[in-house]
Amino acid sequence: MSKKNLIIIGGGPAGLAAAKSAYDAGERDILILEREDKLGGILNQCIHNGFGLHTFKEELTGPEYASRYIDQVKERGIEYKLGTTVLSIDKNKRVTCANEKDGLQIYEAKAIILACGCRERPRGAINIAGCRAAGIFSAGTAQKLINIDGYMPGKEVVILGSGDIGLIMARRMTFQGAKVKAVVELMPYSSGLNRNIVQCLNDFDIPLMFSHTVVEIKGKGRVSSVVIAQVDAKLNPIKGTEQEIKCDTLLLSVGLLPENELSKMADVNLSPVTGGAVVDDDMMTQTDGIFACGNVLHVHDLVDFVSEESEWAGKRAAAYIKGEKASGESVAIEAKDGVRYVVPQFVHREGEGNLKLKMRVGNVFKNVRLCVVCDGGEVYSKKCMIVTPGEMETITLNEKQTRALKNSKQAVVCLKAVEK
């Protein structure tokens, strides 16, 4: 058993940013545990550009963005272990992990930051009938096969789901000579960025079919076709609208789920809406000394926001280790009227400064105001021409607004119509 002040689980964008900022806040006894053989997490396979506009004011590819943070971690001499899987954590912050070289290792930490990311929803979770042939991949698996290993998972492709990974993979497979026959989206709108719809689909005349889904996968051995159908308002397939598309590959981009298997072991309270931990304004979960940030907390749209959130978590974890932890009462922030969730879910009454709230809406709304209402009074309001479920919204309350929220009995984040 060894002791460590801060253990960060995950060496992707969240873990790297948290480590760097914890170090900069004065913490020196840090260990990053990463299960892959490289730091950088999912960014290593996201070779497309578009990362870093907020953080570095330039457009980087995923590996470039990752390398900026990897360099910062290495410059600071922060310790990390690769190929190391955390097997368990508990609420006393005992961390058990294993790798080939060191065998089974047990650490006792003063604080833990969960930065273990998310995973893709598999085929089974969406109940598509049909065969169990080869040729069905989650979009991220296909991305790894092509960009990391250099193998092509298919030649004729249908993609279910128009999230950004699905869109990016439509272009990526087209670049490598595959024919992407259609992107099929269950909802009447895409959860991906317009930019990706234009530059990954429209540029190559790949059809995007809204309110459609895959109802059957056919093939022995390897996928030979999929049957798609239109869905009704309740998202049930409409009989008679089926059409069969010949293909050898079905890619699934049907959502990401925060990976909280470890959190559960430590009795971390999870939100049924985000799938991640319930946290306070220090990014601390309701298990003392266990923090969470990045996609393990809630699925982000841009890595820039992951970095920002994680730097805050790292800083607060360092403060916690020093004994500067927020205590006492807190106020719950409720998401209402079109807002699906808000992170953090709790804010401590004590403390000063600005407060960042991150949220997602449940549908596409146009001409609305995003409001923070405390004890019935509007404390903050922002006009939005459009809000969509695919984009995370962030609002920053200034000191005065933050104080009003901290003092309130009831705080709500909601959408309101713009009065004409």
Partner: protein
């Protein structure tokens, strides 16, 4: 030395192979797939039935009860997961008590003496998520659950350890008399001569018999669709939950797996295509809706995968076990439920009959014990530390959902009757069987398979020829 050819490497073929390896004979198993347990044996409920359901006097009743009793010793000997979790047959209507009573009487007649009728409240006391509509149930504590493919693999490995030869991707076309021997002709032109042929061809056992024998059989594939729930749904029941049976079978079950998942199904539809492994929109909907009658709080959110199994239903209704007329072919036809439960008893019986016909001597070096792959996921911290020290590959976790290490995967490929592809590794180690359904680990497992088998990544398959995963290299 006598030549015995077993056709089919399902649980029946593999268990008979193992029981025959107790004797001095040359035993060869021919299998059309590239692995054992690729048909009905991999896709069923995994229930070790009590034996109250089979009609008294039938072979099903006899071998069910005898087989059930063998599982405790057998599962230890062959190191496969088995647990006596008990089963309820649920009665939802006050006017259906007769049905329960009939099952009870059948149980008594078959020698299942531990069954008893209990009230709905007693059921809910043990299993609180069972529907409030349940009025009463038959309780059978000797009912169990087993991993059917792991049991088959264990049998096969032990058989191989004791000298049985397995030949895969060897589809048999016909069997013909060749002098005093039988000649097994394969689709690729290969021929095998045998003193005895054991017909364990499952869904195809009718065709195999019919190619040689006067008396004809007909197997109807009876399709059953299942849904598998995440381990986090495991709290829903620890007991096997049947509904009162219908003419088509035992109805829709809600049953825990030995690994802690929950299985819903199967539906029962007679079809034509013996190769059909497809699930259907309507079939899955039926499995789910009917399972909700038993456990109303089920949600589709907990589903991680779906699959189809085909039962080899013989038109006669009962198992056909024994010599085919005057031919040296030993038939095992129509081994549907409770075939998995019956398999250990059937195998002992068949091996005895075959050995006595051929006057086989005992195999003095027979070793009944098989050790499975050490399972990292269920080890204590001390055991984990020790095994990584012994074999560092146990320190590399490949499948994060099921906590499967590279050490286990390498072992699964290199042991006798080893895994050849992703599904083979999955059935032996559980890599890819968890909630992400191999999204993260498939690529790593493919690399390990390619490395250990000395093949190219483009040759790695999901489940045999034609199921290659990669179509080429990035240029």
């Amino acid at each position: 030395m006598s030549d015995i050819i077993i056709i089919g490497a399902g649980v029946i073929g593999c268990s008979i192979a193992r029981e025959l390896s107790r004797y001095d004979a040359k035993v060869t198993v021919l299998e059309k797939a590239n692995d054992v347990a690729c048909g009905t044996s991999k896709a069923n409920s995994g229930v070790v039935h009590g034996g109250f359901d089979a009609k008294p006097g039938t072979l099903k009743a006899k071998f069910n009860v005898a087989g059930n009793a063998m599982f405790d010793k057998l599962s230890k000997e062959l190191d496969f997961p088995f647990r006596r979790n008990g089963a309820y047959v649920l009665c939802f209507d006050d006017d259906k008590w007769d049905g329960l009573k009939k099952l009870y009487d059948q149980g008594m007649e078959n020698g299942v003496l531990d069954v008893k009728v209990v009230t709905g409240d007693e059921v809910r006391q043990r299993e609180p998520y069972v529907s409030k509509e349940v009025k009463g149930a038959l309780w059978c504590p000797s009912s169990g659950i087993v991993s059917p493919y792991e049991m088959t693999i264990a049998y096969a490995e032990n058989a191989a350890d004791n000298g049985v030869k397995f030949v895969f991707e060897k589809k048999v076309a016909s069997v013909a008399q060749n002098g005093r021997k039988l000649r097994v002709v394969c689709e690729d032109g290969d021929c095998y001569d045998a003193d005895v042929v054991v017909n364990c061809a499952g869904l195809y056992s009718d065709e195999l018999n019919n190619s040689l024998c006067e008396k004809k059989y007909k197997i109807v594939p009876r399709k059953g669709e299942y849904m598998l729930l995440d381990k986090t749904a495991g709290y829903l029941t620890g007991t096997t939950l049947f509904q009162l049976p219908t003419a088509m079978g035992k109805g829709i079950l809600v049953v825990p797996s030995v690994h802690g998942n929950i299985l819903l199904g199967p539906t029962a539809v007679d079809i034509e295509d013996k190769d059909c492994k497809d699930t259907t929109y309507d079939g899955l909907a039926e499995a789910f809706e009917k399972a909700c009658i038993t456990v109303p709080s089920l949600t589709k959110k907990q589903v991680i995968t779906q699959f189809t199994g085909l039962r080899a239903h013989a038109d006669a209704g009962d198992f056909v076990i024994g010599w085919a007329e005057d031919k040296p072919m030993y038939n095992l036809v129509g081994i549907e439920s409770p075939g998995l439960t019956a398999a250990p008893a059937i195998a002992v019986h068949a091996a005895k009959e075959i050995s006595s016909r051929l006057s086989l001597k005992e195999n003095p070096s027979f070793n009944p014990v098989r050790k499975g792959i050490p399972c990292f996921a269920t080890m204590t911290e001390k055991e984990r530390a020790e095994i990584i020290k012994k074999n560092p590959l146990y320190g590399r976790i490949v499948c994060r959902c099921e906590v499967v290490t590279e050490g286990e995967i390498v072992d699964s490929i290199n042991r006798p009757v080893g895994a050849k592809d992703l599904d083979g590794v999955k059935r032996r180690t559980r890599a890819g069987m968890g909630r992400c359904q191999s999204g993260f680990c498939s690529e790593r497992v493919m690399e390990i398979i390619a490395r250990e088998r000395g093949i190219d990544m483009t040759e790695v398959t999901k489940s045999g020829k034609g199921s290659e995963i990669i179509v080429g290299r990035v240029e």
